[in-house]
């Protein structure tokens, strides 16, 4: 076991396995077991999304306090035409998906996939909000608006009853609140999202200046 933990990749895989099992056990323990696989799927989808972002050049890495603040210019929330078009496209896709779910009759697997995807989207928004460049407060407000909207979408798609709707809205409000709070602790440790350009700038800045 000690040898296994010396290998970073294996240690991470073991940690992920134990964590995913713990999360899978917690939800059926608290409910009737109809959401089996939800947290495991959420972990898997988030890992895949973060790995895809890493492949594209963006990653979360720890920096010293001075370096983190140097790369943190105060940047307001900007709305662009492209951003609005992407947002409209996402809303259209979600509406179509909701109609399809309603028409076909929701199955357990489909519901789990759609709900896990909603949570992964909120998680990524939280990461962008807290660990991204600039002030996180404005972005956090956006997350607090989008997350309950996704909950409302899901409630509409599955035609949830009144108590179910309230429950979904509360979950989708509380989840980003806890995640944003936890990520603030991570941010205070110096972790930030680093894009491709910023990473190369850091590499150049840390190159030795000695001509030899």
């Amino acid at each position: 076991m000690g040898r296994l933990l010396q290998n970073p990749l294996k240690a991470r895989l073991i940690g992920m396995l134990f964590g995913a099992i713990y999360l899978e056990v917690i939800i059926p323990f608290s409910s009737s077991g109809e959401f089996l696989g939800l947290s495991g799927l959420a972990v898997a989808l988030t890992i895949l999304s973060l790995l895809a972002m890493r492949a594209l050049g963006s990653k979360v890495e720890q920096r010293s306090e001075a370096m983190a603040s140097e790369h943190d210019p105060s940047e307001g929330l900007r709305l662009s035409i492209g951003g609005i078009m992407i947002f409209t496209a996402i809303v259209a896709v979600l509406c179509t998906l909701a109609k399809t779910l309603q028409a076909r009759g929701p199955t357990w697997f489909l519901l789990t996939v759609v709900w896990a995807t909603c949570f992964v989207a909120v998680s990524l928004m939280c990461l962008w909000s807290v660990l991204g460049k600039g002030e996180p407060v404005q972005r956090a407000l956006v997350v607090f608006v989008v997350s309950p909207l996704l909950g409302a979408f899901f409630a509409f798609a599955v035609q949830a009853h009144k108590a179910g709707c309230v429950c979904l809205l509360l979950i989708t409000t509380l989840n980003p609140a806890v995640l944003l709070g936890s990520l603030c602790v991570v941010r205070s440790c110096g972790y930030r999202f680093v894009g491709k350009a910023a990473a190369s700038r850091t590499l150049i800045a840390t190159l030795p200046l000695n001509p030899d």
Binding site: P8, L13, L23, V43, L127, L174, S188, C189
Partner: protein, 68 residues
Amino acid sequence: MPVVERIFGLTILHLVIGAAAAGFARIDMGSGIGLNLLPIVPCFALTLCQASLLALWVVSSKIRSRHG
């Protein structure tokens, strides 16, 4: 507070609150005023939050081996 202690504290806090939320979710509130689903709210919110933090740790953490 050092970075490692902060992250360790956050982990312990999540484990404790997660276990408490799972226990709270077992409480039967009755269906009289439509609150029967309320106890599962903290458990679901915390579990999915922990799923995201676990994924972030898996992808981003640096584990130092004994040989550096």
